[in-house]
């Protein structure tokens, strides 16, 4: 029984991590059909902001939950205005430009922060379940992931901004004809996606050490989760993160952590072969 609880928490934790690292990418892809390959570096930037803020005496939770999203959101705004907005509608070109951005940011990180790993200590202790220990931070992450998904759903479904965003994503020309400024909608969406990435990066910073090349560890998983999920932001992310998170965690328990990662990747290839436009392309059509 205790073991079952621990395994459940582990699986939920692994799903939560996938949800967090892919939510920013999913918002940008789902709304704008833009793949931001610099996403991993946005996460890393969020982590660095949190660490630097914490080192300079600010409260850790303030750094993670407020400072990192704001800074990375602003950075996303700058990137959108300078690079991405010239490339809308040209999927491959956006991918290439953002890949360039990712390389440039990696290079910049190693020039600024040096080629060393930095980190912050895990702020929450462990919880005892029978004979086992679970990390309190795991539970915090699970809660955070659930909250992020809930907030995205509420914003999209229940606010005027969400209505505008959904309209602009379904029929940009029609939305423009109604007098909406599409350019501003896109700019805000990109900044929001970037802010989410910053939040996720900061939340994950206590778990893993942070180096200039850390983004590369995230990008593939985030990319796979979002593409396999399909066009619907919330449903797609949750379903595919749930699937891949469970598969990789089960295989990690049975074999090794490398076995888990390889199982995740193989599952993604098989899934895309069966559902060429992602899970929500096949099921849950029209969900948010």
């Amino acid at each position: 029984m205790d073991f079952a609880v621990v395994v459940t928490v582990e699986i939920l934790h692994s799903i939560a991590v996938l949800v967090l690292i892919s939510s920013g990418l999913a918002v940008i892809f789902g709304m704008m059909r833009v793949i931001n390959l610099a996403h991993g570096e946005f996460l890393t930037l969020g982590g660095y902001v949190a660490i630097l803020g914490h080192r300079n005496g600010l409260n850790l939770y303030f750094c993670m939950l407020v400072l990192a999203p704001v800074v990375v959101g602003l950075w996303g705004l700058i990137v959108e205005r300078l690079v991405v907005r010239w490339l809308y509608g040209r999927l491959i070109n956006t991918m290439l430009a953002t890949w360039g951005l990712s390389l440039a940011m990696t290079g910049a990180f190693s020039m600024i922060f040096g080629n060393t790993m930095t980190g912050i200590p895990n702020p929450l202790g462990g919880l005892t379940v029978g004979d086992y220990q679970i990390s309190g931070y795991s539970l915090f992450l699970i809660a955070a992931a659930a909250l992020v998904m809930a907030v995205i759903t509420i914003v999209l479904k229940a606010t005027r901004a969400g209505l505008i965003a959904r309209g602009a994503m379904q029929r940009p020309d029609m939305a423009q004809a109604f007098g909406l400024n599409i350019s501003h909608v896109y700019m805000t969406t990109f900044a929001a996606g970037a802010a989410l990435s910053g939040l996720a990066g900061a939340l994950l910073a206590p778990l893993v050490g942070l180096g200039p090349g850390s983004g590369a560890n995230y990008i593939a998983k985030a990319f796979i989760t979002v593409i396999s999920g399909g066009a619907s932001v919330v449903t797609g992310t949750i379903v595919s993160a749930g699937l891949f998170g469970s598969i990789s965690q089960v295989f990690t328990l049975v074999t090794s952590s490398v076995g888990g990662e390889i199982a995740l990747l193989v599952a993604a290839v098989v899934l895309l072969r069966l559902m060429p436009i992602g899970i929500t392309g096949r099921f849950f059509k029209g969900w948010t």
């Binding site: 360039g100 390889i262 990747l265 060429p276």
Partner: protein, 346 residues
Amino acid sequence: MNSRVLVTEAGQVVAGTVACALVLPFIVDVHTATLLTVYAMLALSLGFIWGFGGILCFGQAAFYGLGAYTYALAAINFDGAWVAFGLAILVPAAFAGLLGALMFYGRLSDVYLAVVTLVVTLILFKFFNSTAGPSYRIGEARLGGFNGIPGFPTLTVPGSPDTYIYGAGLFYFAIALLALVYLGLRLTLLSPFGRIVVSLRENEERTELLGYDVRFYKSAAFAVSGGIAGLAGCLFANWAEIVTPGLFSLGQSAEIIIWVIVGGLGTLIGPMIGAALLGYLKFALGHQSVVDNSFIMGVLLIVVVLFLQEGLVPTVTRFAKAGLRRSSSKKSRRQSRRKRIVSDVR
């Protein structure tokens, strides 16, 4: 295609190759020149499938690494490095053909294709990275995990198994192979097969409605590209005398794409020039540490995507042609336009 075109083509290629072979070792040393040739071969493989077939493969490094690993493993296990040489082309080609069939018969395209190729590269990277234990062996060869496989026999002169091909010899061998592959691709593009591949890029639906099985042609073109990348990997293995999982890394995949797009998409010469130039730039930047290497590469990629969408070679050619046209008479203008149409078709 008539035989005169063919002879002129071949003449140009031979002249270009000889010029490169003579000049390059004076600009950089032979060792670096060989590596640049390998890069050019690798860029050529992606330049073909992406620039002519319209298929963007994000995991060209998979075939490159596979070629290198196949060579190393086969060279240890079999007598005679030339068997390994052949396998290093065939195995990646077969792998690419199978992977291509898996994707194209499943009607994957665009981003989805990019994801699958990227993921396959990652799987290979993770797998070879985790094979450190002594239980991971193929025949006599231990896979060696992140340390890679060192100390396999390199290519020898046929008929004299003790004379190794290295240094300048390897450079001339590599550049000759590059010229052969380039010429082979030019001829392929003139052939019915090549024309169908180009028509896939132009309009896949129409090609299919004309009665061609696009899935088959895409897979076949993918196999050709994979085989060339494998050859590049084999040459790399001979140059470095060690193969490591780094060959499969994301960074390696990224670099190939940058070479091709900077050099020029839709040409064969562009990717090679892009690879040589950027490879040299990387080499030159490697000697100082003020500015990070990947920073430069990243900024370069952004600038090219934003401002120089066609890449170096097509842009330069267009400006050169425009300059020529302006200075010539009306009659020759008409001629040059006709020539341009012909060259576009080619």
